[in-house]
Subunit: 268 residues, 6 copies
C-alpha cells in the first residue's frame, strides 16, 4: 500500500523511496481548551482520524505520513487550563527543522495538513520561506477551513461556529464518542456567547471576527467565558460522520493534486 507511516519505516526503506513523486505529509493538531465538554486534544484527534481515513482511501498516490504535531500555536487559549502552546518563534523553528530534515533526506514535496486555524498565518509565511530556503515544493492544506461551509446550511445555525461548537462536537461524537463529555447541551457557549459576539459586531459592515480584509485579532476571553465559540448543543454523531467523510474525501482529492503539481509544466 502506498500510504505509509514515516515512523514505522527504517532508514533504508526511506532511502529507497521515489523522492521526486512521494508526498511527505505533516499533520498539525494542537493541545488547547475546547470548552468544558471536548478534550484538549480535539484538533489532534480529528486530524489523526482524517489521516487514518485518508490512508485507506487514497489509492495509488505515494504518501508518507509523519506523526502529528500535537502542540502548535494556541496562545489565544492560554488563559484556559490544559492549553499547551508554542511561542511564534518556537513553531517556526519546529516546522523549519522538520522540513529541513525532510529535504536533507532528498524528498521534494511536503504537505502541511493543518487542523488548527490559529496556525494558518504562520504556515502561509513558513511555506514561502521554506520554498526559498530548501527548494521543496510546499503545499498548505488548511483542513479547518473546510469545516464550516456545509454545516452552516443545516437549518438556522449561528454564523460563528468556529471552536468547540456544532461542527467539532459532531465530528468528535462520530469518531471519539467516549471522549465527549455529557455536558454539551444548550447551556454551553451557544446563546449567551453568541449574543455577546453579536453585540460586539452589531452594525459593523467591514469588521468581522474571522474576516480576512478587516479583522480584529482576538483572545478567547474577548468572546467567551466557557471557551466555546459556536453551538455544541445541536451537535449530532450522524452529522459528524457525514462531515468526517467529506473531509477525508477533500484531503484525498487535494493530495492527488499535490502529487501531480509542477511549476511551469512542459507542454505535452
Amino acid at each position: 500500500m502506498p500510504c505509509r507511516r514515516w515512523r514505522d519505516l527504517s532508514s533504508l526503506d526511506l532511502a529507497s523511496v521515489d523522492k521526486d513523486r512521494t508526498l511527505v505529509v505533516l499533520p498539525i493538531g494542537s493541545t488547547e481548551q475546547h470548552g468544558p465538554h471536548l478534550p484538549v486534544g480535539t484538533d489532534t484527534l480529528i486530524v489523526e482520524a482524517v489521516v487514518e481515513g485518508t490512508t485507506q482511501q487514497l489509492g495509488d498516490v505515494e504518501c508518507l505520513f509523519l506523526p502529528t504535531l500535537w502542540v502548535s500555536k494556541s496562545n489565544e487559549h492560554s488563559a484556559f487550563a490544559g492549553t499547551i502552546t508554542f511561542a511564534r518563534d518556537t513553531l517556526c523553528r519546529v516546522v523549519e527543522d522538520i522540513a529541513e530534515s525532510v529535504a536533507r533526506a532528498g524528498f521534494r514535496r511536503l504537505v502541511f495538513l493543518n487542523a488548527h486555524g490559529g496556525n494558518a498565518g504562520l504556515l502561509d509565511v513558513l511555506g514561502r520561506d521554506l520554498r526559498q530556503s530548501t527548494g521543496l515544493l510546499l503545499f498548505d492544506l488548511e483542513l479547518w477551513s473546510f469545516y464550516t461551509a456545509q454545516t452552516l446550511s443545516e437549518g438556522a445555525l449561528p454564523v460563528l461556529d468556529i471552536h468547540a461548537g456544532y461542527f467539532e462536537t459532531s465530528v468528535m461524537l462520530a469518531c471519539y464518542p467516549s471522549l465527549v463529555g455529557e455536558r454539551f447541551g444548550g447551556g454551553l457557549g451557544s446563546d449567551r456567547e453568541r449574543g455577546k459576539i453579536a453585540a460586539s459586531f452589531d452594525g459593523f459592515c467591514y469588521l468581522t471576527p474571522d474576516g480576512k480584509s478587516a479583522s480584529v485579532p482576538w483572545l478567547t476571553g474577548d468572546y467567551t467565558d466557557d471557551g466555546v465559540m459556536g453551538d455544541p448543543g445541536q451537535a449530532r454523531a450522524e452529522a459528524g460522520r457525514r462531515e468526517y467523510d467529506r473531509l477525508v474525501g477533500i484531503v484525498c482529492a487535494v493530495l492527488r493534486e499535490c502529487a501531480a503539481f509542477e511549476y511551469r509544466p512542459s507542454a505535452s
Copy 2:
C-alpha cells in the same frame, strides 16, 4: 482637523491626545520589484496616496497616522534587483517594537493598513500576539485584498491580476503618472505569463495560487520571468482613479468602525 501625522506632533501634543478613542494607524508598504514598468515603491506609494485621501475625507474620527513602513517582507521577489526585504523575524520585531512604543505612550487602538499581500500571514499572527502582550485593541486592514474584486468584472480580464498588473498599473497611472514607465503594453506579463500560470493549475480543483484552503507557496520566479502577474496592458488612468476613490472610501469606513468597536459592549 482630527487626522494628523504622528511625526509632525510634539511629545506634549501626543501626551494630551484622548488615548481611549484615538486610532493610531501604521501604513505598511514595501520596496519590491513591480515589473519593468512600475517603481519598486509601488505599494508604498499607493498606501501613501490612500492615506492622503483618507486624511481629507475621514471627518471627525480622531486618527494619527504613523509614517509608512517602506520595507516589509518581500522575499518572494528577492531575485529581482531593487527588492529590499526584511526577514520574517525582522518584520516581527519591527512591528512589535512600534506597537510597544505606541502602547507605552498610552494609546489603546492600533490599525495595520497593509498594502502588500505578502505580509498578511505575519500580520495576522502579530495582531494576536500583540493583543496578548500589550493589551492593545488591534485592527488588521488588508488594503490589497480590496484590489481585485471589482476589477475582474471589467470585461474578460485574467483571473490572476495580483502584482504589477491591471489594477496596480491603473492606480499608479492615476496617482503617479510620471513614475509609470512607457513600456506597460501588452508584451508584459499578460499573455505569456498568464498562460504559464494557467498551465501549472490546469485541471486542478483545489490547488490555486492564492487559495486559502489549499495553496502552493510560490516565489515570483515560479510564475514569471518579468515579474508581472497580471495584465498591465489594459491599465487605464480613469479606472485607476475610480479604484483609488473606492479604496479611500473603504478605508474611511473601516476606520470609523475601528474607532467605535468594543469587545463585549455594555447594553445601552
Copy 3:
C-alpha cells in the same frame, strides 16, 4: 484510574485535578535512523510501549501523560535518511514552552521520561533552568540509561551496545515484531563496527565513547557505516520482553518517588 492522558481530558477536567501531587509526564522519543532493520521511530515506539505498561501498573499515583515528543535532538544521525532532528535551541524552546504551559495550568511536578541518550545533556540543563524560571519541581528520568546494565551480562556481549543493537532490537522484537526488518543478522554493525570502535579506543585508559569524565563527542559516521552500534544479531524477543518488564517496573518505582518527593520536608 489515576493514570490518564492529558490529550483526552477537557480543560475543565484538567482544572479540577489536584495540582500539588499530580505528576505530569512528558515522554520524549526521537525520529532517527536505527540501522537498516529498525524503524526510525524506535525510541518513540519504545517509550510509548513503556508508558502503556506503566499506565496499567502504576497503581494509585496520580499521573497525567502528555503525548510523546517524536522529534528531539538527533543531529549525530543526520547523515542518514529518515532522521528528523531539532537544533539545540529548538528543543530547548519546545521543552520550555511545554513546561511553561504546564506550570501556567497550576501543576507543580513535571517528569521528563527520555528514551534518547542524545537529549540527556540538554535535559539536565533545562531541568535546572526550568526549576528556576517556573518554580516547578522537575524530575529527569533517563530511560535509556537503564538499557545496558543487565544486558551486558548475557554472555560475552560487546561493551558498546548503545544504538540499534542487541537491547533495542530485542525490545522491538517483543513489542513491535512486525516493524523489525528481517535483516538483523550478524552482518549488521556487530563484528565490523565493533572492531572499528575498539580500534579507535584501543589502549586508552580514560577516553571512552560514552565516558562522563573524559569523552570524545561523536557523530554516527565516526563509528559505523550502517548506523548500528551494537550487535543486533543476538537479539531475541524473549530477552526483549524481560527487559521491557524491567523498564516498566523501574518507571513505576521512579514515578512513585517523584510523587512523594519534597525539598526540605518538615519533620513528622
Copy 4:
C-alpha cells in the same frame, strides 16, 4: 540628473545602473521626543531636508537615495510620549537586511547618513560587520556630529546643546517653521536643565556627558524633565538656514569622497 530616489525607479532601472560607482545612501532619522516645542520627527525631517538639498547640489556623482528610516534606536527617550524606538537587535537586523538587499542587487557602495546621535555606536559596529559579511564598501556619515561646532561660537551658548536646543530648533525654524511650537522660549530646558547638568559634572575633569574617552551613559530623564538638552530660546531661523546650507555642503563633499574612495588604489 544623477541623484535619484530608489523608490521611484523600476527593477529594470535599478538593474541597469553602474553598480561599481553608484552610491546608495540610507538616510536615518528617528521618532523621539524633542521637547515640548519640536515634532517627534525632527531628526527625520532634518535629514530629509538635507537629502533634498543634496539632491539639487551634488552634481555628477551617481547617487541613489533610499527612503528614510523613521524609527531607529531612541530608548534614552522612551519615557516621553511619542518616542518610538527599536531595540538594539531590531535596528541591527533592519540595517543588515537592507544592506544585504542592496548587495544582492549588485551595488558596491553603501552610505549611512545618520541624523540621530544615539545610533552612532551601533552603526560603527554594523559598518564593520557588513564590510565583512557582504563585501560592500561602507561609509558612515554621522550628520549630527556636525551640528555643534560652529554653533557654540555664537556668543556664549551652553556647552551642551545636543537635543532640541539652539541648533535643532534653528534648523527647524528655517526648514519647517509651521511645525515648531510657539513655546520655545527661555523657559525650556535652558537655564534650569543646563544648571542641573552642570551640577552633575561640576569639578570633573574626565567624565563628560558626551565624552568619548570616559563617558557616563545616560537616559534623558537623568538630565532633564522637559526633554530639552540645550537652549532653544535663542534659536533663530536665519541661523538655522546658515547651518542647513553648511550641512548640505558637507554632505555633498563627503559623498563625492565616498564615490572616489578605493582601498589600496593602484598607483597612477
Copy 5:
C-alpha cells in the same frame, strides 16, 4: 617546551604550529559562591593551578592553553552575592565562537577542561554540535568528576561533598591558603545541611541529587542556607595537596590520549 600559552604567542607563532597534532585546551572555571569561607573564583583558581601543574609535567605533548573562562553557567547559585553567571545561550555562543576561531586558525583538536559540574550537560551537547559544525576533534574532560571518588573513602565522610566541602576546601588550602577564610569549621554546611539533604532523599531508591538516571534538578537554595554542600570542617591542606597531584596526573594522562586519538585509525 611544548606547553605554551596561546595568549603569549604572536599570530606568526600560532600560524607555524603543527595544527594536526597540537592540542588546544580551553580551561573552564566559574565565578560562583563557594560558601562563606572560599572565594567565588574557587573553580577558576583550581583549574588554573591544575593547568600550571600540567604545564610542568606534560612532557612532549604539543599543547596550547587558552586563558581560562572565568564565567560559565552558575545560575543554581545566583541567589548568593558574588555569583556571576551566563545564561544558557550565552555560554553556548561563547564556547562556539571560541571553537570557531580555533578551527579558523587551522587547528584540529580542542579540549574542554571543565572544573564546574554545572556546565557538564551543555558541554556534552556543544561537543557534539561543534564536532558537526566545525569538523574539529573535540575532547570533553570534566575535571570535577574526579574530585569525589577517592575522597569519599577517607573515613566516613558524607555521601554528598560536591560544593565548597571537604574536597574543594582541602585543595584550596593546599594551593591558595591565603584565600581560605578562617571560618571553615564544623559549623558550616556539614551537619545541618547534610541532614537536610538526607531528609529530602530519605528512603528513596532511584532519585538522587546527582543521579544520572533519575535526578531532581536543584537550585542551591533547595538544599542549603549557607551555600555549602559538603563538610569543609574536615578539610586539610595535606589531603588537598595529594588530590591536587592526583588531578594533575589525570589531566596529563588524558591529554596524552587526546593527542594520540584518531577515529577509525588505519591498521598499522
Copy 6:
C-alpha cells in the same frame, strides 16, 4: 586596602561591601593578532598591567576588579591566525549577563575599562541599554583612546599608529619584554603599510580611517598584509614606561570621578 579582586573574595565578603559607593570594574582585553612581533594577548596584557598599577595607586576609593574579559569583538582581525573573536551578539550577552549579575548582588556602579578600540561602539550602546534595564550607574572608560595623543608629538611619527605600532610595542617592551619578538624593526608595517593607507586617503578631507564624523569601516586586510598599523620600529621601552605611568594616572583619576559622580546631586 580598598582595591580588591572580586575573584578572591567570598560570597560573604561581597555581601558585606558598601554597595552604594564601591566601584565594580570590568577590564576588557582581546585575543587578536598584533603583528608578527607582539602576542595575541597584547590588549589583555596591557589592561592587566594597568589594573595592577591602578590597584597600587588608587588610594581610598573602594574598588573591586573583576577578572579580565580576554575575548571581545575582533572580527576585523579574523583573517589572521590566533585571533579569537565574539560575534556582536555574543559580546552583548556576555557583558549584559555580567552586568546583571553585578546588579543582582546589589552593586550600583559598574565601570567598563576597555583596551580594545573595536569594542567602543558596542560598549557605548550597552552602557545606555544597561543603564535602562538594570538601573546601574555605568561608566565607560576607553583606555585605548588615551594611547595616541602624546605619542604623536614624539618627533614626526605617523598619523596612524593604532595597532601593534609604536605605542603598543613600547608599552609591551616596558611591561612584558620577554613576550616581544625580536623582529619589530623598521621592516614591519611602518613604511610600506603607512604608504598604502596614505594612498587610500590621499586628497580626502572628510573621510578618515578613524574618523567619527565620516568614517570608512575597515577590516585589517584592507590596510595591511602583516597586521601592523603603525611604526613599531621606533618603539622603545623607556617611552613605554612613561606611557604606562600616564595611563595608570588617568585610570586612577577617572575612577575617583566615577566614585564621586551622581546624577542631579542635591545642592550642598
